[in-house]
């Protein structure tokens, strides 16, 4: 029997249906747009940085359940973190979804997205919001793409 529940865990389905922190953020100090040209997914991430911290973060766009849930969970995970902590989380998340075995760090809810590592074409769906967050935090004005 096929276990799609490994990929689409309840937490993911819930974040997909009820995304947290979705919508434009007025007064953002940084924002970036991310694209996956292979599938047309698009996400914009807005951040407000204060004293080296991510005090507010929101996203908008359209994508699959994996990218929507990943963006939603990401906003919850990085809110209130220092920029360095958020960047570290990005790196840990990347290794979670690309390498086998347990994550080095306790990534909390984010770990439910580890299932995408068994679906190579879906990994970029999970990482697109994070790449976009990274660009927003760096204050890059250019948009990011999953394809270099």
């Amino acid at each position: 029997m096929i276990d799609l529940r490994e990929l689409y865990q309840e937490v993911i389905l819930d974040h997909n249906k009820h995304p947290r922190n979705r919508g434009k953020l007025d007064g953002a100090t940084g924002q970036a747009e991310g694209h996956n040209p292979l599938c047309g997914d698009q996400v914009t991430v807005y951040v407000v940085k204060e004293n080296g911290r991510v005090v507010e973060v929101r996203f908008e766009g359209h994508g699959c359940a994996i990218s929507t849930a990943s963006a939603s969970m990401m906003t919850e995970a990085v809110k209130g973190k220092t920029i360095e902590e958020a960047e570290q989380l990005f790196r840990d998340f990347q290794s979670l979804v690309t390498t086998s075995g347990p994550a080095n760090e306790d990534l909390g809810d984010l770990e439910v997205l580890g299932g995408v590592r068994d679906y190579p074409v879906r990994i970029k769906c999970a990482t697109l919001p994070w790449h976009t967050l990274h660009a927003a935090l760096q204050g890059e004005q250019t948009s990011v793409s999953t394809e270099k």
Binding site: I2, L7, L13, L38, G40, G63, Y119
Partner: protein
């Protein structure tokens, strides 16, 4: 469940396509991504294998036996494509590396010989990127402008709007014969005639028509017609550009190199006549031989499945088969709440694209794959069309004659599971 034509044992035909026996994620493969690429029959695979084992040589060069055999096989394939398109003359058939290259060749050529600042190139809103971007590049080079012909909500060309856009400024009309995203079969014969009335050149992108329709370029009167051979049971890496002889002769060479020349001197070179002028370098010889074998396969299929026989019989039967599959798929999918079919023209080829309220097309694609069902999810290289439809992506099932009603049932049943998972 209704059943298909009783005279044809579809399981025998399926057995001629080796990949169809694959097991994917524990289930028999249901390959419903034929608009991306078709599967290849044993006869095509064997023809290419046989070429490499017994005849491999470069063409149009050697005096030795193998080169002569390879040249003969390559030229024979050109004649078979002429027959497939019902063109007048085999010199009107140019082999390219794909349909995309064929369109680029024409767009590049016309930007040298025809297009001037202010000229208009009309393309339909439902074009594949490969019939938009080459024209945008031609426009950049020449100062011409590309204008999209609107479509209706059903996914048909808005013929009134098209008529009103035609003027003496219109120099090129590029249109898709069958839409890869919607399945709509466009009235290209009429559109070509309307373009000709204002003196415009026409290019018909036949990438999705090739597998489904008995194309007759003489009847359509298209100036240029392009094919993507891997979509009709031939290998990847070969496309076809058909052009009326006088139009091909008027186009400049596209790439320079061996085989496209008559004489080369440092003081200047002269070029070979068509079609060699457009086939610089060693072509995809084995691929072209595979194309020839795919046409033989279709002709033989026609003899087996119809009294009419040949390519005429083959395409009539293919059309009937796919009409049943598409109709049944639309019937089953329409029963699903929250599912919307995109492309509802009554004149459709074997494509059923849809969206679900509760699930994104990629999630549909992943869940279906886990059930052994291959479909395409995404924008189908038609971003302007997706924008027009107000969606970012669709899920698309596309059929070939070897598909079955049972596979359609599996598709619909799995889509119901997707809906349950995400709602």
């Amino acid at each position: 469940m209704i059943s298909l034509s009783p005279v044809v044992d579809i399981s025998k035909i399926r057995a001629e396509f080796p990949v169809l026996s694959r097991i994917i994620n524990g289930q028999p493969l249901a390959y419903l991504d034929n608009a991306s690429t078709s599967q290849k029959p044993e006869a095509v695979i064997q023809a290419m294998d046989r070429f490499y084992r017994t005849q491999n040589a470069n063409i149009h060069r050697g005096v030795h036996q193998l080169s002569q055999e390879a040249t003969q096989a390559y030229d024979l394939a050109r004649e078979k494509v002429r027959d497939l398109l019902q063109a007048n003359d085999a010199r009107e058939i140019v082999f390219t590396k794909g349909c995309t290259e064929a369109i680029n060749l024409v767009a590049f050529g016309l930007s040298t010989t025809l297009l001037k600042p202010g000229d208009e190139i009309l393309v339909t809103t439902m074009e594949h990127h490969s019939n938009i971007v080459p024209w945008q590049m031609a426009a950049e080079r020449t100062g011409a402008v590309v204008k999209p012909i609107p479509i209706t909500d059903e996914g048909e060309v808005d013929m009134e709007a098209y008529a009103s856009m035609l003027s003496e400024r219109t120099k090129v009309v590029a249109m898709v014969h069958v839409s890869n995203s919607l399945g709509t079969i466009n009235p290209v014969k009429q559109m070509v005639a309307m373009a000709h009335n204002v003196g415009a050149k026409t290019l018909v992108d036949g990438a999705q028509a090739g597998p489904h329709l008995r194309v007759d370029v003489k009847d359509l009167d298209a100036d240029f017609y392009t094919l993507s051979c891997h979509k009709h049971y031939a290998p990847t890496g070969v496309g076809v550009l058909y052009g009326k002889l006088e139009h091909l002769e008027a186009l400049p060479a596209y790439q320079g190199g061996g085989d496209m020349i008559r004489t080369v001197r440092f003081s200047g070179s002269t070029y070979a006549p068509v079609p060699a002028k457009f086939e610089a370098g060693t072509p995809n010889v084995s691929g072209v031989i595979g194309v020839g074998a795919s046409i033989d396969y279709l002709r033989d299929l026609g003899d087996r499945v119809s009294a009419e026989g040949g390519l005429d019989g083959a395409f009539r039967w293919i059309g009937e088969q796919e009409h049943q599959l598409t109709g049944y798929a639309q019937q089953r999918l329409r029963e699903i709440d929250g599912l919307r079919i995109t492309g509802t023209s009554p004149t459709k080829a074997a494509v059923v694209a849809f969206t679900l309220e509760s699930a994104h097309p990629h999630d549909i694609g992943t869940v279906l794959d886990q059930h052994g069902i291959a479909i395409r999810a995404g924008h189908h290289c038609c971003m302007p069309l997706m924008e027009r439809l107000g969606v970012s992506a669709t899920a698309r099932a596309s059929f070939a004659f070897y598909n079955t009603l049972e596979e359609v049932d599996r598709l619909a049943d799995a889509v119901i599971l997707v809906k349950e998972l995400f709602s």
